[in-house]
């Protein structure tokens, strides 16, 4: 069966510090991968999606970047965090093409102080 992992679960970082959130998927090959951010009590904002290794599409201009160094690994990064980067970050995967049901990881709660 497929599983998706995210870490860390929670993170408190000072403004200006770097960020690296990791997401890995098991039990499937060549998935579409997604990074979302969710503000408190709000819906999901798509940040990045990837349809293959090294292929990253950005949905909104921001202080963040994403990379996909391996087929089932998706990394969200920042060189210098802003207060506005605080939020709940969710990684998800879906089957490439076909029905686009998405499977979500447990999320990372990021607080920038």
């Amino acid at each position: 069966s497929q599983t998706i992992h995210q870490w860390p679960a929670t993170l408190v970082q000072p403004v200006g510090s770097p960020l690296s959130l990791e997401c890995t998927v098991e039990g499937t090959s060549n998935p579409n991968l997604y990074w979302y951010r969710q503000a408190a009590g709000r819906g999901l904002q798509l940040l990045f999606y990837s349809v293959g290794i090294g292929q990253i599409s950005s949905e909104v201009p921001q202080n963040l970047s994403a990379s996909r160094p391996q087929d089932r690994q998706f990394i969200l990064s920042s060189k210098k965090l802003l207060l506005s980067d605080s939020g709940f970050y969710l990684c998800a995967w879906s089957v490439l093409q076909g029905a686009n049901e998405q499977f979500f990881g447990p999320g990372t709660r990021l607080t920038v102080l």
């Binding site: 029905a99 686009n100 447990p106």
Partner: protein
């Protein structure tokens, strides 16, 4: 914008009652999905309904889709306290690439009181 908008934003009911949440969207879609999110957790997929379908059932869940009105509803029958969560609709449309863009609405917060 394609974004779905759920209605109501918040809903509080007694255990055993039915809960109905609605979703409206603005553009043509390929399919519509409903997800559930427990507080502080990731989203869990509940049901997907395609644009050529009008109704789907899954256990205590019933989803309808009216493409002429660009709206969908999620009905949870005989609600339980464990159904307390936020519910999101997500619409998708074909992009002609390997990625079908999915847009999530802001969600409905459901509280089921024991």
């Amino acid at each position: 914008s394609q974004q779905g908008e759920e209605d109501p934003q918040a809903l509080s009911i007694q255990e055993g009652e039915n809960a109905t949440m609605n979703c409206s969207y603005k553009t043509s879609i390929n399919n519509l999905q409903w997800y559930r999110q427990n507080s502080g957790r990731g989203l869990v997929h509940l049901i997907l309904i395609r644009s050529n379908e009008r109704e789907k059932h899954s256990g205590r869940l019933r989803v309808t889709l009216d493409t002429s009105k660009k709206s969908s509803s999620l009905l949870i029958t005989a609600s339980r306290a464990a159904d307390t969560a936020s519910y999101f609709c997500a619409t998708s449309r074909e992009t002609g690439t390997s990625y079908d863009k999915v847009i999530f609405g802001p969600g409905t917060s459901l509280s089921v009181i024991p």
